[in-house]
Amino acid sequence: MTNNGNGKIKPKMTFWEKLYFPEIIHGMTITMKAMFRPKFTRQYPEERWNPPPVFRGRPVLVVEDETGVERCVACGLCARVCPSLAIQVQAAETELDKERYPELFEINMLRCIFCGFCEEVCPEEAIIMSKDFELTFSEPKDAIFGKDKLLIPRSQLEDRLEFLKQYR
C-alpha cells in the first residue's frame, strides 16, 4: 500500500495481479478448497448444545435442595438495577430465619436483555443466570415468568454457582 498524497490509498500491484485473471483463479481455488473443509453447522434440534458456565441464559431463582426454600430475601435490588425493568418483586414476611420472602417474583422475558446485572447485585446469590436459552412464546403474557418457572433447585445450577465462586 502506498499513500499517493491526496488521502487515497492505492495498492501496489504486480503485473500478474494487474492482469486480474490469475488472481480470480487464485480466489477460485480458495473457495474450491473451502468446499471440502469440515462443516461448522450444528443440526440444532437434534444436536443440542450444552453451554459453558460462563453462558448467560435466562435468570432463575435458586432453591435450596434440603429445605425447598428459595434464597431470595425480596430486597428488591435486582428489580432496582435491572436496566430493562423486567423484574417485579413483592415482599412478604415469613417465620423463617430470613424473615422476608418474595410473595410474587416475575421476570418479563420479553424485556430481559440477559445482562446479568441482577445476578451481580444480588446479596444472597439468589438470582443467577441459567443455561436455558430456548425461550419461545406464542403470546406476550406467556413471556412473564412467575415463581413457578423461576424456582430451580440448586443441584441443577452447580456449574454457574461454582463459576461465580471462582471468578467473582
Binding site: F21, I24, G27, M28, I30, T31, M32, A34, M35, R37, P38, K39, F40, T41
Partner: protein, 338 residues
C-alpha cells in the same frame, strides 16, 4: 406436422429448463453453503431434495404487493418481458444433432434459423427492457437506480459481447449455431483458436446475466434489491426464474460457441445408431453446460462486486479494446492462412 413437432419441442425444453432452474436454485444454495463451511438446506425431503417445491409454494402463496404510486400495467408487464425473453433465447440452441422417430429426422433444436447468433444477441439485449421497465414502473428510487445501472451496464457489455463472438463467426464462417457445432466437431474446439475472445465473452456474459461480480442492478447492500425491490410473490419469482434461465442460456451459448456444443473430440457420431448418438450428444451438451453453470456459481461465491465506476472502466477501457484486438488478430491470421 412441423408446427406440432416444434410445439412438442418447445414444451419439453421449457419444462426441462424450468425444472432445472428450480434445482439450480437449490444447487446454488448448497454450493454457497459448502463454500462457507455450512451445510445448506437439508430439511425438506431427503438431503433437502424437495426444497425447490417448498420455495415455489412459498412464492405462489405470497401476496402480490404493488406500490401505490407504481404504474400497474408496466409493473406487471416487466417480469413477463424478462422471462419471455430469457426463454426465447433457448429456441436456437442445438441440444444435439437429430433423432429419428418413425423414419423422420427431427433436429434437436427448436428453430434452426440461419441468423442464430444474431437472434441470441437480440434476445439478450431485449432482456434489459424487463429490468429497466421494472425499475422505472415501481416508482422507487432503489428500483430506478437498479434499472438505470442495468441499462448502462448492458450497453457497455453488449459491444464486447458481440465483438468477441465475431471471432468465432469468422473462423466458422456461419451464423447458424448447429453449423458452428459441426465445424468444431470435426476439428479443434474454438477455445483453442479464440482464448482471448473466450475470456472477453465469458466476462461480458456474466455482465449480461447480472450475476456477480457484475450484479450492480441488484447490489443488495446499496440498492436493497435493485430493480426488483418493489416486487413480491410470483412476479418476483419470474425475475428469479429469468435470471437463472439466462444463466442457463449463456452457459449453453458458451458451450456451443467455444466448447464444441454437443460434439466430443474423436467421437464419430455418424457411425453410431442415430438415436443412441442423439442421447450421447444431449448428455454431453448438458454436462458441458452444467460445468459452466457451476463456474457461474463458483465465481459468484468467490468474487466481490465491482464498484460502478470500475465496472464502466473494465467495460470500455479493457474489454472493448481487447475484443477489437482479438477481432483484428483473428482477421490477420485468417488472411495469412488463406
Amino acid at each position: 406436422m412441423i408446427a406440432v413437432v416444434a410445439l412438442i419441442k418447445i414444451i419439453v425444453v421449457v419444462l426441462v429448463v424450468l425444472g432445472a432452474v428450480a434445482y439450480l436454485v437449490l444447487l446454488e444454495r448448497k454450493i454457497s453453503a459448502y463454500m462457507q463451511d455450512r451445510i445448506g438446506p437439508n430439511r425438506v425431503g431427503p438431503k433437502g431434495m424437495f426444497q425447490p417445491f417448498a420455495d415455489i409454494l412459498k412464492l405462489v402463496l405470497k401476496e402480490l404487493i404493488v406500490p401505490e404510486q407504481a404504474n400497474g400495467f408496466v409493473h406487471a408487464l416487466a417480469p413477463v418481458i424478462s422471462i419471455t425473453v430469457a426463454l426465447s433465447a433457448l429456441a436456437v440452441i442445438p441440444f444435439g444433432n437429430y433423432i429419428v422417430i418413425g423414419g423422420q429426422k427431427i433436429s434437436l433444436m427448436i428453430a434452426n434459423v440461419n441468423i442464430g447468433v444474431l437472434y441470441i444477441l437480440a434476445m439478450s439485449s431485449l432482456g434489459v427492457y424487463g429490468i429497466t421497465l421494472s425499475g422505472w414502473s415501481s416508482n422507487s428510487k432503489y428500483s430506478l437506480l437498479g434499472g438505470l445501472r442495468s441499462s448502462a451496464q448492458m450497453i457497455s457489455y453488449e459491444l464486447s459481447l458481440g465483438l468477441s463472438i465475431i471471432g468465432v463467426l469468422m473462423i466458422d464462417g456461419t451464423l447458424r449455431l448447429d453449423r458452428i457445432v459441426t465445424a468444431q466437431g470435426s476439428g479443434l474446439w474454438n477455445i483453442v483458436y479464440q482464448p482471448l475472445g473466450f475470456l472477453v465473452f465469458i466476462t461480458a456474459a456474466f455482465a449480461e446475466t447480472n450475476r456477480l461480480p457484475f450484479d450492480l442492478p441488484e447490489a443488495e447492500p446499496e440498492l436493497v434489491g435493485g430493480y426488483h425491490t418493489e416486487y413480491s410473490g410470483m412476479r418476483w419469482g419470474l425475475f428469479f426464474l429469468s435470471e437463472y434461465t439466462s444463466m442457463i442460456v449463456s452457459s449453453a451459448l458458451i458451450v456451443t460457441l467455444y466448447f464444441g456444443g454437443w460434439s466430443l473430440p474423436y467421437v464419430d457420431y455418424a457411425a453410431m445408431f442415430p438415436n443412441i448418438a442423439a442421447i450421447i450428444e444431449i448428455v454431453t451438451f448438458l454436462a458441458k453446460t452444467g460445468i459452466f453453470i457451476f463456474i457461474y456459481m463458483w465465481v459468484r461465491w468467490t468474487l466481490p462486486r465491482f464498484r460502478y465506476d470500475q465496472l464502466m472502466n473494465v467495460g470500455w477501457k479493457i474489454m472493448l479494446p481487447l475484443a477489437i484486438v482479438n477481432l483484428l488478430g483473428t482477421g490477420a491470421v485468417l488472411l495469412a492462412v488463406k
